[in-house]
């Protein structure tokens, strides 16, 4: 999808709730075919950003265009291309799960019954159970089905897996990978469980206090940050290691573990050989990258 037009364009988006600046001149383009991980601490502005995309929030200043339309003016045709799983988990509690599925599906001409049946079977959703009496995990699963049942082009997931157990989270990630097989689809996923989302995302956006600190491809990010284990081939390591762009280092006897930024493998290898050391380069987990970027 390289070269395609962005499906979401945010330009200088600002939003304030009382004394809290939720978004502060945020600009972001979202291109089709990506799985974007939206990361940030509580109150960083993730949910606010996502709600602007579907027009539930209106900006104080700036503009958000979704599918080429002002997000505030999204109509049934545009919203029919967007699936949304939200934090609040608002569903119609008095309905049975099956009734709720039939009710929501009545709004979408392209509702996929096969997908619905498969999902209900795979995720063990009891269609006869009252929605209000479902456990948080069951509610979450139902909310996900309602968001993907019409195979939206843009799927927005705001803390979708928080209430799921580890097995269900793994299944859910598989589901997302299956969903993205169609290259025209895009997923934006906001989550605090970074170990999960690093398995699926190909693009990362990190937010802090309404700002976007980082917006880049996940592969690029993994190339940028790496962990280097330096071991002395004989004796002790020199007291001063000559590596540059070291963000963090830990030493113990004959080895050191360094976190480095923007260092090529060849360069590190050459420097290690000059010190009579062996190096082992590993990509940094997303959780560590996030910690570095935010701090």
């Amino acid at each position: 999808m390289i070269g395609a037009n962005p499906i979401v364009q945010m330009n200088g988006l600002s939003k304030r709730f009382g004394k809290i600046q939720a978004l502060d001149g945020t600009s972001l383009d979202i291109y089709p075919g990506r799985i974007i991980g939206l990361l940030g601490a509580n109150g960083a502005g993730k949910s606010t950003l996502l709600r602007h995309i579907i027009g539930l929030y209106l900006p104080d200043s700036g503009q958000c265009m979704t599918f080429g339309c002002d997000a505030a003016k999204l109509g049934p045709e545009e919203l029919g291309r967007i699936g949304y799983v939200h934090q609040e988990g608002e569903l119609l509690d008095w309905m049975k799960a099956g009734q709720l599925i039939r009710y929501v599906s009545a709004y979408y001409p392209n509702w996929n019954r096969e997908l619905e049946e498969k999902y209900i079977a795979d995720y063990d959703i009891s269609t006869d159970a009252r929605v209000g009496s479902l456990s948080p995990g069951q509610r979450q699963k139902l909310a996900i089905l309602l968001a993907i049942g019409f195979e939206p082009e843009l799927l927005i997931l705001d803390e979708p897996a928080a209430a799921l157990d580890p097995v269900m989270r793994a299944n859910f990630l598989d589901l997302l990978l299956g969903f993205i097989q169609d290259e025209s689809r895009t997923i934006i996923i906001s989550s605090h469980i970074l170990s999960d989302i690093e398995k699926v995302v190909d693009h990362v956006v990190i937010m802090k206090q309404g700002w976007i600190l980082l917006d880049c491809g996940f592969d690029e990010l993994r190339e940028r940050f790496s962990r280097v284990r330096v071991s002395a081939l004989s004796g002790q390591l020199p007291s001063e290691l000559p590596f540059v762009n070291v963000l963090d280092s830990k030493r113990s006897k004959g080895q050191a573990i360094l976190t480095v930024e923007n260092c090529s493998g060849e360069e590190l290898q050459r420097q290690a050989e000059s010190l009579n050391c062996r190096i082992d380069i590993q990509p940094l987990p997303l959780e560590d990258i996030y910690r570095i970027v935010v701090s």
């Binding site: 709600r51 209106l58 505030a72 049934p76 509690d93 929501v104 709004y107 009252r130 968001a147």
Partner: protein, 468 residues
């Protein structure tokens, strides 16, 4: 700062309680100045009216602390498990004393006697205060009982003359009243500090003081008790309801307003439609009640309309995304409120018609020298919902996420209506004037449409402060 002081701070930190203080202050003011209008009569029960304040205070003070105690973190805080009774008894003496001072003006007594009677009244109020506190602790969601206190008071005084009896006991049996006051206080002290009391409240789903006006909190409360939800909706909606609504939705285009209208009607009315027969009893009861109220039925319809507007869900503020945008939310909500107004209008006409039939058979009777006779309800009251529902709906939409202000607006609105009804006009004849009717309809629906349009196109529709 002691644990008790920290907890007492909630009494002024909670803004929801300020409204209660305002109401209580007005009541106290009324009690103080009423002798200027008409002197109090000894032996008529007028000196024990403040006992209602003691009951309300006992309820509120206990509920305020129980609300904190029901939070799991409070259970783990040092000293919190035993703070309830200290908290309750902190308020006992001042409240009882304030409620007793009217006895200083009790006629026919010399000063030493007045002081003795004041002590008796103090213990009487103390008894009611601690009884209310124990009831609030023992009854689940006792906050709901507060709504029934005025009715209990009216029944107790109007039908059983308990106020007269209490006043006689307070003045004539000082020793007994004092003993009862002391014993009830000891019993309450033991009851509120019993072993396991804090545990029984910890993490229990709880309707807080102002939560009864907050739909989201009530839904959260329901969700916390799934077994109650299952029991409540066991038979509803009936199997025919879903296909009935879905078939109507399917008559319209996927992106057409008709589909969204029927969808919203399904979402908001399915349970009422499913249990339509449950509405028959209130329908008959209201007809009989309004028939005996007579000319005041118009005011009753005003209140009914306001209560209906507040209880009604409108599909404006919702995070559950279905493919309707802001424009669909506007059109759907507008036509839903139009539908409600027409339905209420038809209900009012039906009540009026039924009252005409009942008027031939309902008997006249007399209670405490007051005569009650059944009269036909003027069919013109049917215009009230058509005029007032858009106003009430506009207020409900504006204050949807501010239950405190919604309640305040409702109270002010009620005062205005009651003032207009009893002060200026005594009949529904005001609505006969075609110019007034047309003008009110245009103004009401115009205001509603403007407010709705503003909210749908300019406000944030979920969470937060909600407005630009």
């Amino acid at each position: 700062m002691s644990i008790l002081s920290v907890n007492l701070k909630h009494l002024y930190q909670r803004r929801g309680l300020w409204l209660v203080y305002l109401i209580l202050a007005l009541l106290i003011f009324g009690i103080i100045v009423s002798p200027l209008v008409r002197p109090r009569q000894a032996g008529a029960g007028e000196y024990v009216v403040p006992v209602m304040l003691a009951v309300v205070a006992g309820f509120l003070i206990t509920l305020a602390q129980l609300e904190i105690l029901s939070r799991p973190f409070a259970y783990c805080l040092p000293g919190h498990r035993v703070v309830l009774r200290k908290y309750v008894f902190c308020g006992a003496a001042p409240v009882s004393l304030i409620c007793s001072v009217v006895f200083l003006a009790y006629p026919g007594l010399d000063w030493p006697e007045r002081v003795v009677v004041l002590c008796s009244a103090f213990f009487a109020n103390l008894t009611f205060y601690v009884a209310a506190a124990v009831a609030a602790e023992g009854i689940r969601n006792a906050v709901l009982i507060l709504g029934f206190l005025p009715i209990i008071g009216i029944v107790a005084t109007g039908f059983f003359n308990l106020d007269v009896l209490l006043e006689r006991v307070v003045v004539g049996n000082v020793f007994v009243v004092s003993i009862v006051g002391v014993l009830s206080s000891v019993a309450a002290w033991r009851r509120l500090g019993r072993e396991g009391m804090a545990r029984s409240h910890c993490a229990m789903p709880w309707i807080g003081f102002m939560d009864i006006f907050n739909k989201e909190r009530l839904v959260r409360y329901q969700n916390a008790r799934p077994e109650a939800l299952e029991k409540r909706f066991r038979r509803h909606p009936r199997p025919w309801v879903e296909p009935w609504f879905l078939s109507r939705m399917e008559r319209y285009d996927y992106s057409g307003p008709g589909r969204y209208y029927w969808g919203a009607l399904y979402r908001t009315s399915a349970l009422a439609v499913s249990g339509w027969y449950n509405l028959l009893l209130p329908f008959f009861v209201l007809t009989i009640m309004f028939g005996y109220i007579g000319r005041g039925a118009g005011v009753a319809f005003v209140m009914l309309t306001a209560i209906f507007a507040i209880g009604r869900e409108v599909p404006v503020y919702s995070t559950m995304l279905i493919s309707g945008g802001r424009r669909r939310r506007l059109t759907t909500t507008f036509w839903l409120v139009v539908t409600d107004a027409v339905l209420l209008c038809l209900v009012a006409l039906a009540i009026s018609g039924l009252s005409a039939a009942f008027s031939k058979v309902m008997p006249a009777f007399s209670i405490e020298g007051k005569d009650f006779s059944f009269s036909t309800i003027n069919y013109r009251v049917a215009i009230i919902p058509l005029i007032l529902l858009p106003f009430a709906s506009a207020i409900e939409l504006v204050f949807y996420r501010r239950p405190f202000l919604l309640l305040a607006a409702l109270i002010v609105g009620m005062y205005v209506v009651v003032f207009l009804s009893f002060g200026w006009y005594e009949d529904v004849e005001i609505f006969v004037n075609p110019a007034f009717v047309v003008g009110s309809l245009v103004a009401g629906w115009g205001v509603f449409l403007l407010v709705l349009r503003r909210i749908c196109f300019k406000w944030c529709l979920v969470g937060g402060e909600g407005r630009i």
